[in-house]
């Protein structure tokens, strides 16, 4: 079986978890929206890796399809996010997410 070739599923998941944790840490601690967006992408890619790993392990194409869908979503999200960053820049607002707290209750 092709699925048995290559590393165990645990390796894939470890890398995916590492990527996800890195991304999450970045999202939580960084203040620059650009870096936050970047970290988000890393999180998504970690998730994608897990999907594909499982897909390979189970021999089911569904995971790969789902990963493609996530990529599409990620791309559109970047478009929106970068648009926001540009808009902020144009308004001469400091690129610091901690200052953008108008939603505070």
């Amino acid at each position: 079986m092709i699925a048995l070739l290559g590393p165990e599923i645990a390796w894939y998941l470890s890398v995916a978890a590492f990527l996800f944790a890195t991304g999450a840490f970045g999202v939580l601690v960084r203040r620059n929206p650009l870096i936050v967006l970047l970290s988000l992408e890393i999180m998504l890619n970690g998730a994608n890796l897990a999907l594909i790993g499982f897909s390979r392990n189970l021999g089911d194409g569904g995971g790969q399809i789902f990963a493609l869908a996530v990529m599409a979503v990620a791309a559109s999200e970047v478009v929106v996010g970068l648009g926001l960053v540009v808009a902020l820049n144009r308004k001469r607002i400091t690129l610091d997410v901690d200052r953008l707290n108008t939603l505070r209750g």
Binding site: V27, L28, T102, L103
Partner: protein
């Protein structure tokens, strides 16, 4: 015949709608003639039905024409139907005939009023409602007519709606009548439960005595309210706030006699509930006495006549209660003639004196308005029941029926009825002598203006003349000791359950004639010739002037408590418990929201951290539980 009945019913309605929808496109005079001619068309329709019935044999004189099913609920159904039988045609003739004369009279009386169109629309609506009441082919339509009559009387009594007193009187009349409607409706619910039908035939079914008593009581409640009998009579004197022809229409021919018609129409149930029938007779007797007494001290010309109406309807209730239905109906008819006559002559007097109604300011009008005087005299004699005027023939046979009922109760009723004839003579001729005899008072000399010879005068005079003639000859169609076509005509619908002997008839005739004349004599001595001073008994006079304190008692017993209850509910329940509960709920929610809102820092990272940690906790829980 059937089409005659439908034309009779619908033509006043059509006139009313036309006048309302036409608005200012219909001139005032046209509106008057439209309403009048519609009523005459209705009368022609009634005559057509009458003639149609005559061509059938006596046993075969009942026709129901149903247009369509009016209301239904499961297996219960009632049609929109008219009933053509001797009783309903009798009432149609009286209502449409006298009604048409009164509407005609109104053309003269209301001439120059700002809102003549509205007036005639209401009048036509009233005639329609009354015809619906008497032509209804089943009980629910009867109730419909009953309520419509109440509505149109509300509209007419409150016609001059700038006057607070008129509006108050109109509301009072409507609410009192609504009480009657409600008791009737309750009786009908019971009938539906028992018989699943509201056709008139269901009343003849077999009921337990409780059911029969309750149904009869409910119907009696309606009849008492509509006919202004004790204890629901207080609206009637106040209703004199309306224009005088309205008083004539409501109090003479039509509305107040509806109660009598109802009892006669539903006599089958009253015969199953003899106690309630006795109660009806007793209420009638009480009313005729009380109203006669109150009439003695009234100083408003229309109120005196109003109280006499109550008193005369008391006679009809007495007659219907003891089971002498044809005589009650006969008195209803003659009463319609002479009472309409009295109201309309009083209207001419009021008109001539620039809307003054206080008899203390009047006097000596015999010299200034002799024709009016004669008309009033004819009406008064008919009211007292002096031979050969109309009231003589009808009133005495009711008294004879009370006598024929026998027993202590029958004789008590008979005695009260006789006492009533004395009172009738007294108060009627007190009015006549004060208003028409003596020298013209200063007020009269200053304000009196005679009628001209124009359309106004003619439309006032002709109906009065016709009714005057009817008041003289109208009674002759039945003289109970010798001939009784009215009784024969109504026999198939309402067979009387008492039949007075000829000696009872003659005793009643002699005594009531005697007492009536005595009453007139006393009135003459006191008010005509001033031979005897008016006796002064302070407490009695005060009681009578306060109309036995009925108004005050109702105010204290019902109106004031319900207002107080409503106020209490508003201040004590609605405001603190319901309205503020909502507000408190709202405030508390807002406070709670404020509390929770502090968690909203506005920083995405806080939210992300919350999400991440929650997921972590969930994952741990999931792993442990698994």
């Amino acid at each position: 015949m059937v089409w005659g009945a439908w034309i009779c019913l619908l033509s006043p309605l059509a006139a009313s709608c036309l006048i309302t929808l036409g608005g200012t496109r219909v001139s005032r005079r046209t509106a008057g003639w439209l309403a009048t001619s519609a009523c005459f068309v209705a009368f022609a329709g009634a005559v057509a039905s009458f003639v149609g019935l005559l061509t059938h044999s006596a046993s075969d004189r009942q026709f129901i024409s149903t247009a369509w099913t009016w209301i239904s609920g499961g297996s219960y159904q009632s049609g929109l139907s008219v009933l053509i039988d001797p009783l309903s045609t009798f009432m149609m003739l009286v209502v449409a005939g006298v009604g048409a004369l009164i509407v005609w009279y109104s053309i003269g009386y209301m001439d120059g009023d700002d809102e003549e169109r509205r007036y005639f629309a209401y009048m036509a609506l009233f005639v329609f409602s009354m015809l619906l009441l008497v032509q209804a082919g089943n009980l629910i339509l009867l109730l419909a007519g009953w309520g419509m009559v109440g509505l149109s009387s509300y509209l007419l009594i409150g016609f001059w709606h700038q006057r607070p007193s008129a509006i108050a009187a109109a509301k009072k009349a409507f609410v009192m009548n609504a009480i009657g409607d409600a008791t009737m409706a309750l009786a009908f619910f019971l009938l539906i439960q028992q018989g699943n039908s509201l056709e008139f035939g269901v009343l003849g079914g077999e009921f337990s005595s409780t059911v029969a008593n309750l149904v009869a009581l409910g119907l009696l409640g309606g009849a008492v309210a509509k006919s202004a009998q004790i204890p629901l009579h207080t609206w009637l004197p106040d209703a004199m706030e309306g224009p005088t022809p309205v008083s004539a229409l409501i109090h003479a021919a039509t509305m107040v006699t509806a109660g009598v018609y109802l009892i006669v129409r539903t006599h089958a149930i009253f015969e199953q509930a003899p106690k309630v029938a006795d109660l009806a007779a007793g209420l009638g007797a009480a009313t005729l006495l009380v109203a006669g007494l109150i009439a003695l001290v009234q100083v408003d010309i229309k109120r005196v006549i109003a109280y006499s109406t109550m008193s005369q309807i008391g006679y009809m209730f007495l007659g219907a209660g003891v089971g002498s239905y044809p005589n009650a109906m006969f008195h209803l008819m003659t009463h319609a003639f002479f009472k309409a006559l009295l109201f309309m002559t009083a209207g001419i007097v009021i008109h001539a004196l620039v809307d003054e109604q206080d008899i203390r300011k009047m006097g000596g009008l015999r010299q200034l308005a002799p024709k009016t005087y004669w008309a009033f005299l004819v009406g008064s004699l008919a009211l007292v029941g002096i031979f050969p005027f109309a009231g003589f023939f009808s009133k005495d046979s009711i008294l004879a029926a009370a006598m024929a009922k026998g027993g202590v109760y029958g004789y008590v009723l008979w005695g009260i009825g006789l006492a009533g004839t004395f009172l009738t003579g007294l108060y009627t001729f007190r009015l006549l002598f004060i208003v028409f005899w003596g020298e013209p008072s200063a007020f009269v000399r200053e304000h009196f203006h005679p009628l001209g010879r124009d359309v106004v005068a003619f439309s006032l005079a002709i109906p009065v003349g016709v009714l005057g003639v009817l008041s003289v000859i109208g009674g002759w169609i039945q003289f109970s000791p010798w001939w009784h076509p009215v009784e024969t005509w109504l026999r198939t619908v309402a067979e009387p359950i008492v039949s007075p002997s000829s000696s009872q008839e003659w005793t009643s005739i002699a005594l009531s004639l005697l007492l009536g004349l005595t009453g007139i004599g006393v009135a003459w001595a006191v008010y005509g010739a001033h031979r005897v001073a008016v006796p002064r008994v302070v407490w009695a006079q005060r009681t009578l002037e306060h109309k036995f304190y009925f108004d005050e008692a109702y105010d204290a017993l019902f109106y004031a408590p319900s207002v107080a209850l409503a106020k209490f509910l508003r201040r004590g329940v609605e405001q603190p418990l319901i309205a503020d509960s909502g507000r408190d709920l709202g405030d508390d929610t807002r406070d709670l929201g404020g509390l929770v809102a502090r968690a909203q820092t506005g920083l995405v990272r806080t939210y992300a951290l919350a999400i991440a940690s929650s997921v972590a906790v969930l994952a741990i829980v999931f792993v442990i539980v698994k």
